[in-house]
């Protein structure tokens, strides 16, 4: 346990040194602000740059608060996931490439400790960034459009954070397989995107899919209740996370860390 904490602290220190704890939350704050603000200013933006002929009247219904929050969610689901995957794709791969992993693992450290320390760190920074971004979005939505209850926000955040953890575990898994960080990131993103698309078009067959968590966030915000397959997809997600952590450990054990 003591060893694990040392590894954990080493990761923390590294993430402070390379400013991840600064720039990721800041970028997520901006992501959270964009949608409420652009919806709020849309009529005036169209007025200013739309090039509409004189006297055109466009009636734009003011969007509901829930719709704006949902737009924020999809923004965080798209750009947020992209950024967080790019930021953490090298977490094991780069360390192996530079020989740092070999230096750490020369000592008698169980590889599972190494992997889980990294995993918890990456998940932590991902979930904190998501929280900061999402709460900014929620705050701006509440100020500009009307209230969405805080309780609903928190509940949807928890589900959203589980989806993020899943994505980040996927990143770590592929980061353990491939030595080139870019390849790990690319494959993770491909899988996440195709999973989301497949879940959208074949919802009936994909009721177990972790991407259903995103739909649950949406239905929680819009109708106030969870989607149909929520519990199933939650269990599958948790199982997959555990399996991928073990898988990453096994893969690293069988690789020579030159």
């Amino acid at each position: 346990m003591k060893q694990w904490i040392t590894l954990f602290k080493k990761e923390q220190l590294e993430m402070l040194r390379n400013f991840k704890w600064v720039w990721l939350p800041l970028v997520f704050i901006i992501l959270g602000m964009t949608d409420p603000l652009s919806s709020y200013y849309m009529p005036r933006i169209i007025d200013a740059v739309g090039g509409m002929p004189e006297g055109t009247v466009i009636e734009m219904p003011t969007p509901q608060a829930a719709e704006v929050l949902l737009a924020t969610v999809s923004q965080l689901n798209l750009l947020g996931v992209l950024i967080i995957v790019l930021a953490s794709m090298g977490v094991i791969a780069a360390e192996r490439k530079s020989g740092l992993a070999a230096m750490v693992l020369v000592k008698p450290i169980p590889i599972i400790n190494y992997v889980t320390a990294k995993w918890l760190n990456v998940s932590l920074i991902g979930c904190v960034s998501l929280f900061v971004g999402y709460i900014t979005g929620w705050y701006y939505t509440s100020v500009l459009f009307g209230t969405v209850s805080f309780e609903l926000f928190l509940q949807s955040y928890v589900i959203f954070a589980i989806w993020y953890t899943f994505v980040l575990t996927l990143t770590i898994f592929f980061s353990a397989i491939f030595k080139v960080a870019g390849v790990a990131g690319f494959i993770t993103l491909t899988i996440v995107i195709s999973l989301s698309i497949l879940t959208n078009i074949m919802g009936d067959y994909m009721i177990w899919s972790p991407a259903q968590l995103g739909d649950s966030v949406a239905s929680l915000i819009m109708v106030g209740q969870l989607g149909d397959g929520f519990w199933l997809s939650l269990s599958v997600t948790v199982l997959l996370v555990v399996a991928m952590l073990f898988g990453a450990t096994k893969i690293l054990e069988n690789k020579e860390l030159e």
């Binding site: 720039w23 970028v27 704050i29 005036r44 200013a48 530079s98």
Partner: protein, 68 residues
């Protein structure tokens, strides 16, 4: 030409974005100075961070740094 009149509410609403962008650029610049090598020449990253707002620093942090 100023498309959207800058009343005080607008300024208050948009101020945080401007501040965050400036902080991001400064942090990226500090990191650029301290780091030993980047992918591609350093002066290129300097220009990217300075002249592409928001996405410049993000690009630098995600793909410019050699160590993660």
């Amino acid at each position: 030409m100023n498309g959207i009149a800058l009343d005080s509410t607008t300024v208050m609403l948009l101020m945080p974005i401007a501040i965050i962008q400036i902080i991001l650029a400064i942090v990226a610049l500090i990191d650029l100075v301290r780091t030993e090598e980047t992918y591609g020449p350093k002066w290129m990253w300097l220009l990217i961070i300075l002249f592409i707002s928001l996405f410049g620093p993000i690009l630098y942090f995600t793909i410019g740094r050699r160590s993660y």
